[in-house]
Each structure stands twice: as C-alpha cells, then as structure tokens.
C-alpha cells in the first residue's frame, strides 16, 4: 500500500519530511485560528465595507 513512499533509495526521506512539515504547519495555523479574538475578526471582516470616503455616492449602482 505504501510502496510509493517506501524503498525509494533515500527518496522516502523527502516524502516523510514533507508530510511532517505539512502537519506541523497546519497544527500551527489551527492553533492560531482557535485563539483568534472575535472582536478582531469582526473588525477585520468589516474593513472593505467600512471605508470612510468623502463624496461617496451610495446611489451609484449598475
């Protein structure tokens, strides 16, 4: 079953390392996401629609 990642004359080292890098990377991003502050998320997601602009004509539509 794992013959594509075993017995590759040294090549398997790269496959297994990549898998580990990949897992570590996602664990870090996962932990970071869980710890994110809700107010911050709200503030960030409002950013494009809360643009203070002068002479903004909201009636423009097409």
């Amino acid at each position: 079953m794992f013959k594509q990642i075993k017995d590759l004359a040294g090549g398997e080292y790269y496959l297994i390392t990549s898998l580990l890098i990949f897992m570590v990377f996602f664990i870090i991003v996962g932990v970071y996401l869980i710890k994110l502050n809700k107010n911050y998320i709200d503030q960030m997601s409002q950013m494009p629609i809360n643009e203070p602009q002068l002479n903004e004509d909201e009636n423009i539509d097409c």
């Binding site: 990642i5 970071y32 960030m44 494009p48 602009q53």
Partner: protein
C-alpha cells in the same frame, strides 16, 4: 486627534483598466485566430509570423500577462489604497509601472511572432525582456510596500496578504525560471537541462497559475465581493486558513504536469499528493465567496456585477476540483496532451479570471467616474453571451479531449492499435474545434460589447482622478496596550516586511524539497553512455524547432504505456535529455509525439512534409513551412552556441567551436546529396537541412545501444 485629508489616485486605476480592455480584445482575437488555424490551416495566413507555433505563445502571454496582468494591477491599485487609507506611495513609480508593463507587452508582441522564444511555456520571452519584467516587478513591489508602510490603517486586510504573497512568489518563480545564458541580444539557453529543466519549468508554470491567476484574484474577490454585496465576507477565519494553506500547498503541486515522464517517481507522487490536498484550500475560497452572498441572493438576480462574480466563483470551484482529479495518474494518463487540458484551463481563464475581471470593471469604472453605467442591458447581454461562450468553448473541448485520449489508447482484439495513424484521431475532433471557435467568438463579442459600454460610460462623465478621502494617522491609532494586539500574528500583520518573509519561507519549502534532490543527487538523473551531444547542424536545427514553436503542438516524451510504445517506440528515459538546453517535452499533442521520429522517415519525406504537410499526410492540419527551404541557415552563430553549451557542461571536446562549422557543412552536404538522389534540389545551406538533421537525430541515441540504459530507467 486630527483627521488627515488625502486623495486616492484613480487615474492609474483607470489606465490599467483601459489597458485590460485593449489587451484583452487583442489577446482573445489572437486566441480566436489560432483556434481557427486548428481546423483551417489557411488561417496561418501563409507567412512565418502568423503560424500557430509562433502566435500561440502570443495568445497565452497576451491573455495572462497583458489582460489578467493589467486587471490585477487595476484591482490592486484600487483596493490597496482604500484598504490602507493611503494614496499609492509614489505617482512616479505608478507611472513607471504602468508604462513599463505596457512596453514589456509590446516587446512580446514584436519578438514572439519573429520567433524569439525560450520555449518555456508562459515564460517564452527572451532574456532582455526577462530583466525588464524583473525591474518593473520590483517597481510594483516598492510602490506596494511603500504604500503599506505609509498606511493609516493598523491591520492588513486578508486581500493584502494575497497581494503580498503574489508579489513575493512571482518574483521567486520568475527569477528561478529565467536562469539563462545569453548568446546574443535575443537568444539564450537555459542553464538547466532535460529533467531538471522540466521540473523548474513546471514548478514555474503551475505556480504562475497559482500566484498570477489565482492569489491576486482571490485578494480582489475578498475586497470587491463584500463591497458589491455590501456585507462582510462569510468567514474571516476561513480566509486566514485558506490563505496560508493555499500558498503552502500550491507550490508543491508542479510535478503533476510531468506524470509518466522520466521525472523521478517520488517527485511525481509528491506532486499528486499535494494536488489532491489543494481541493481543500481552493474550495475554502470558493465557499467563502459564495456564502458571502448568503441572504443576498435576491441581489444576484438584479445585479449584473454579482452575476459575473457568482459564475467566476463557480468556474473557480469547477476548475480547482478538476485540477486535482486530473493529477490522479489514471485520469492524467488519458487527459494529458489532449484538449481536455485546454478545456480545464479555459474554464479557469474565461470563467474565473475573465468574469471576475468583468464584474470588477462594471463596478469600478462608474465609481471612479462618479456616474452610472452607460447601459445595464448591454452588461446583461455581455453576461449571457459570455456564459454561452464558455459553454460553447468548454463542452466541445471536453468532448474532443475524451474522444482523442481514448482513441490513442484503443486496441483491436488482435492487440494492434485501432488508430495507428495519429491524423485519424485529429480529424475526428475537427467539428469540436469548429464549435470551440464559435464559443470563443461569442466570448470575444461580449468583451467588445463591454469595451463599448465602458467606453461610453467614461465619455459621458469626467474621471475623478484624485478622489478625496480622510482618515486618522496611524501613529495615533495604535493601541498596543490591548492584550489581543500583542499576540504574535497580529503583531506580524503590523510588520508587513516580516509577514512577507514568512510568506516567502512558506512558499520556498515545497519548491526546495522537490528541486534540491533532483539537482543534487546524481542517481535522480542517471546518464546513458550512448547519449552524445548534438552535432553542430543538429544544434542549429534544434534552435529552428524552438523558433518555429514546434513544441506547441508536438511533445517529445513517450510515456511508458503500451499504447504509446506501440505508436512511437521505446518510452523516454531521463538520461536521454541531459544535453537538452532547454527541454522540449511539450504539453499538448495536436500532432504526434516526435521523440522517436529520428530514422522513422526518409530525409525526402521530411522535406516534402515541411514544404506541404498534406502531400505526405492528406488532410493534415499542420501549416506548411516553405520559408525553411528559402532561408539560409545562419552559421555565424555556430561557434558561440557550441561554446555556450560547453559552459553549460555539454562535453564537446576543447576547441570544437573552431571546427564546428566544418562538421556542420559536411553533415549538411550529405543530407542535401541524399535529397538530390530523391530528385529534390536544395542547397545545403538552407534552414530545412538543419531541421531535418535534428529530426533525424531525435531519440536515436539509444535505439541501437539498448545495453547502455541503466537498469533503473
């Protein structure tokens, strides 16, 4: 605290918008022309500057770098200023960026039809233009980072993360894929050869799709879609996860373009595994976009901008599901080299890039002109004819791809190829190519209608070149006493340079794991003793093959399938390409593979075939190449080419450059003599002689010397 008054630069946004329209129409018109060439060879217009091989790269470069490129800069320059509450860092740099980019495009329009090409797909432009691209890209980077540094908004919205990743990754890709040894003003050789060159090229090619056609567009989607729907993005957390996982995973997936080639098996497996994983972040983006419209679907019925955005996101979802499926070896074995891949690419290009661009332009142009769109009806017409165009383009191409891919593999009960003549499979799908052109024409009509509509919109009002705005200065805004602000990622976001470096590290990991072993471990590219460097005449012939863009229709890699070894001959080995600067494996078989063409036909057959392909293959759609018979081969470059190859490690004996032309002449004379015996009178100094020499050499090194092939190939 005092509000600061400043202005947004809308003129640069408008200029990039105009360039998007103009180059879009030009690039798609060339696309339509080459589509017609595939069923009506007379559309090659009978001259060398408009043959398929030379102008297919013009189409791809024009739509990717001119149409999409200008659209990216339009979207980035509009959204960046507003998200950062600051005018662009420097108006002068903006202008240099704009005009520099247009000059690069013009230089492509001139050099590609003239046959100056590196042959690397989507990186065909020669080395002086590569340098110009680097310089202009740096100008863009300075302008973007300068704006980020003088911003009045503490945090960087996720769209800007995508822009930063785009900037840094394209810079890395472009530089690594441009290591060329110049031999004249517009000719160079890649320093990489064979398998290594293929790996670098498809690491570049795949990630150009990722970081030129995807990440900047996702950034724009995250800004413009909430603006259009007037509601925040569905999940900001998902956008963060989507961002980091996308840029991390994408970079590994390049080798899926090289499945069943002589690339080391472990690198192919790695490419497949990461390609499958790519579904998750890609669909994360699509779902985030579509769910942003939750509760606003009634608006989609009314608002043509949103219609364009919804189709764009749907096309993105389809293409990014199909991509990983195509990277599965079993599917790839049928789909690769067929029109299936062309269909896949165009669902992304026409649907995702095209429709997102159109949606943004219909929204943005009236706003920077403070007016309303000239005609909503026309925009709606554009939406429907564009959608119809995509369907008429994609469905026939899928059909053609399935049909031809299966025909190539079909055997009779006796175990013989059912369609041994490649041309039979080409002629079978001609009606599909006609339909595809109709699809392309419908899509182009929509774009022309849009150009008219937006042109009228611009003419009826005056551009607000400097749009006034006001915001608090940044220094007074920062409140680092808030404990939440002290967390590492939020701190990182306030430090864009460190953010860029982290993004750089993330994208470098995959590329390095894949490339370093292929470059540093000898066993990955085993040599074959009987494979010798090209003769000087073959080397010149190879450069003509590159100049004419033969690689656009013919591959040079026989895959280890019985259907291919039956049709073409022994499958290709890594060791056969060690002197190939650049590799010419190609990615599409409009005509048959040529790796084992050497010795298959006579010199006279090749001569007649190049003069008039239909004389040897009745019904052939290959254009004739009469100029090769008229034009004299430039032998003044032979010595410098041999020396360049020596510099790159090709083992010509010392001093070979001095005698190279003598050997070239001797080989040319023998071919001319052979042709004469077949009643073909042609001078030995013609280009056709060199091309025949190259074609006759291809793949022959191991034919009579099979014992020299190492056991692991």
């Amino acid at each position: 605290m005092q509000l600061e008054k400043f202005t947004y630069d809308n003129k640069i946004v408008r200029n990039f918008g105009l360039a998007t329209l103009i180059w879009g129409i030009i690039g798609m018109t060339v696309g339509l022309l080459i589509a017609m060439q595939l069923f009506k060879p007379s559309m090659n217009l009978g001259n060398q500057y408009t043959t398929f091989g030379r102008i297919r790269p013009l189409h791809t470069n024009a739509v990717i770098f001119a149409f999409v490129g200008n659209a990216i800069f339009m979207g980035v320059y509009y959204s960046l200023q507003r998200l950062l509450k600051a005018r662009m860092f420097s108006d002068v740099l903006s202008k240099i960026h704009f005009w520099g980019w247009q000059l690069i495009i013009v230089s492509a329009v001139i050099t590609l039809p003239l046959g100056f090409t590196t042959s690397h797909e989507y990186a065909e432009l020669e080395w002086p233009i590569d340098i110009a691209i680097t310089l202009i890209w740096v100008v863009f980077g300075i302008n973007m980072f300068g704006t980020i540094l003088k911003r009045r908004e503490q945090h960087l919205y996720v769209a800007i993360w995508f822009y930063i990743a785009t900037f840094v990754t394209i810079a890395v890709l472009h530089i690594v894929n441009s290591f060329e040894l110049p031999i004249s003003f517009l000719k160079s050789y890649y320093v990489y050869a064979g398998v290594q060159d293929a790996l670098v090229q498809w690491w570049y090619g795949h990630n150009a799709v990722a970081f030129f056609l995807t990440t900047p567009y996702l950034g724009m989607m995250y800004y413009f879609l909430p603006k259009m729907a007037n509601r925040p993005v569905y999940s900001y957390k998902l956008s963060i996860l989507h961002f980091w996982s996308l840029i991390f995973i994408y970079i590994w997936a390049g080798p899926h373009h090289l499945l069943y080639t002589s690339l080391p098996g472990w690198a192919q497996s790695l490419g497949v595994a990461f390609s499958i994983m790519l579904i998750a972040p890609s669909w994360g983006g699509m779902i985030n976009g579509l769910l942003t419209l939750r509760g606003a679907w009634d608006k989609v019925r009314e608002d043509v901008n949103l219609k364009f955005m919804v189709v764009a996101l749907t096309a993105y979802g389809m293409a990014t599901f199909e991509g990983p499926m195509l990277s599965l070896k079993q599917i790839n074995g049928v789909a690769h080299f067929t029109d299936w891949i062309v269909a896949h690419v165009h669902v992304g290009a026409l649907g995702w890039n095209g429709f997102l661009t159109f949606g943004i332009m219909y929204w943005l142009i009236p706003r920077i002109y403070k007016t309303e769109l000239y005609s909503k009806k026309m925009a709606s017409f554009h939406f429907w004819i564009g959608t119809l165009g995509i369907i008429f383009y994609a469905v026939p191409m899928y059909w053609a791809g399935f049909t031809q891919g299966l025909m190539w593999k079909e055997f009779t009960p006796d175990g013989l190829l059912k369609y041994p003549n490649f041309l039979t499979t080409t002629l079978q799908i001609i009606p599909m190519h006609v339909l595809r052109s109709i699809g392309g024409a419908l899509y182009l009509t929509g774009v022309i209608v849009m150009a008219f509509n937006l042109g009228k919109t611009m003419l009826k009002a005056k551009l607000v070149a400097d749009e006034p705005a006001e915001a608090m200065p940044l220094a007074k805004n920062i409140n680092i006493t808030d404990p939440a602000d002290q967390k590492w990622h939020r701190a990182l976001e306030r430090k864009p340079m460190k953010f860029m470096i982290l993004a750089l590290i993330v994208i470098l990991i995959g590329g390095m794991v894949e490339m370093m072993p292929t470059f540093m471990i000898q066993s990955n590219i085993p040599t074959i003793a009987s494979v010798k460097p090209y003769s000087p005449l073959e080397l010149q012939g190879r450069d003509l093959y590159i100049r004419e863009g033969c690689v656009n229709c013919h591959t040079q890699t026989v895959r280890p399938f019985r259907s291919e070894t039956e049709r073409y001959g022994d499958y290709s080995k890594a060791g056969e390409f060690v002197y190939d600067h650049p590799f010419l494996w190609g990615s599409k078989r409009t005509g048959p593979d040529l790796h084992r063409i050497g010795g298959k036909y006579t010199n006279a057959w090749h001569f007649n075939h190049m003069l008039d392909p239909t004389s040897m293959s009745p019904g052939s759609i290959m254009p004739p190449y009469p100029w090769l018979i008229k034009q004299q081969l430039d032998t003044t470059t032979t010595a410098i080419k041999v020396r360049a190859m020596q510099t790159l490690g090709v083992p010509y004996v010392s001093g070979y450059d001095v005698v190279a032309n003598t050997e070239l002449q001797a080989q040319a004379d023998s071919i001319a003599k052979d042709l004469q015996q077949n009643n073909i009178k042609v001078k030995s100094n013609r280009e056709i002689i060199a091309l025949i020499a190259y074609l006759q050499r291809m793949g022959t090194d191991i034919k009579a010397n099979k014992f020299t092939i190492p056991s692991n190939q």
